[in-house]
């Protein structure tokens, strides 16, 4: 057993390989079962975590192979400019609606978190770490550190928000009767940053482009709005 985990820990391809295999398996499971909670991202990460814990492989060793995927996050965000450019006429036409919608989402998020933290008696350090939960990880972490929060709480919350939008994006649109493609995209991106955007692209290019745009707008507007909320608890 230790020999196997030693070998895997030192393998250069292991991290990337297990990530791809688990994601592929998770996609097959989703296709076969059609059960919404079996979202490929959630299922594949669960598989990988179980595998790492059982074989006692440290996360750093896994990351050594998987960081190729991690690196691609930045070029992927930059690549969002392309669908945005293709859909620019839709953006211009609906600019006011998009900005107001995102602002509404940011305020709803901030008031809700303030209310919950007040109710659960959560400390200020954790409160400020919860606030940036629906924005893209790099901006969220920067804001948390700036306000003396706990980084890992923010990463957890950003990941929950992303998974929520990723798993339920299409279902929420149907359930809440959000039918305008632009509104679907903006809701996905404002709730679940890039993970929500991945889902929005499944709905169509307009939705994907608007969701991608919302990552940037929501992130930047949150930077402006957050100072008004950090001192409340």
């Amino acid at each position: 057993m230790t020999e196997i985990s030693d070998f895997l820990s030192n393998s250069t391809s292991f991290g990337l390989c297990i990530s791809l295999v688990c994601f592929w398996l998770a996609e097959i499971i989703q296709k076969k079962t059609k059960f919404v909670l079996f979202a490929p991202l959630l299922v594949s990460c669960t598989f990988i975590i179980i595998f790492l814990v059982v074989l006692k492989i440290p996360y750093e060793k896994y990351l050594a192979g998987a960081q190729f995927l991690y690196y691609l996050m930045t070029p992927c965000t930059v690549a969002l400019a392309i669908p945005l450019y293709r859909q620019f006429s839709k953006l211009k036409e609906n600019a006011a609606a998009i900005v107001l919608g995102i602002l509404g989402g940011i305020l709803a998020n901030a008031f809700f978190i303030f209310g919950m933290c007040y109710f659960f008696k959560i400390s200020n350090a954790e409160y400020v770490s919860l606030l940036p939960k629906s924005i893209t990880t790099p901006i969220a972490i920067a804001l948390t550190n700036q306000n003396g929060g706990v980084e890992s709480v923010t990463i957890l919350m950003v990941s929950i928000a992303g998974n929520m939008a990723n798993i339920f994006g299409i279902i929420f649109c149907r359930l809440f009767k959000i039918t305008e493609p632009v509104a679907c995209g903006v809701a996905c991106g404002t709730t679940g940053h890039a993970m929500g955007t991945a889902k929005a692209f499944e709905m169509g290019e307009v939705q994907g482009a608007m969701s991608g745009l919302s990552i940037a707008v929501c992130g930047l507007l949150t930077v402006v709005v957050m100072p008004f909320f950090v001192k409340l608890i």
Binding site: L72, A108, K133, T137, F176
Partner: protein, 121 residues
Amino acid sequence: MKFVKQFTILVLTCFIGEILHALIPLPVPASIYGLVLMFAALQSKIMPLSAVDQAADAILSIMPLLFIPSTVGLILAWDILKAHWLQFLIIGIVGSTLVFFVTGHVTQLVIRIMKKGKKND
């Protein structure tokens, strides 16, 4: 060769974004500067869409995969999170649902009001 050129442009934009992030003291990540730059270059016709579209579409098509390493990384934080994990989970789930609802409906409402306004003109 086409892919070499396309990925070079994409990665170069990321790199310029990193330089801007280092120079400008704002909590804006390099990737967002890159996104804005790329968009500006396309919009101003400095660069044609055909110079980056294939690389961009390829990378966008594997987007969900890219979140795996950071999500798995949550196992490192378990000791800090275990005290309040249930509260965090509830806040995350209910909060995200609320944000989705509000954002979607405000956007949709304004779009519909503007459409009606145009019809009446």
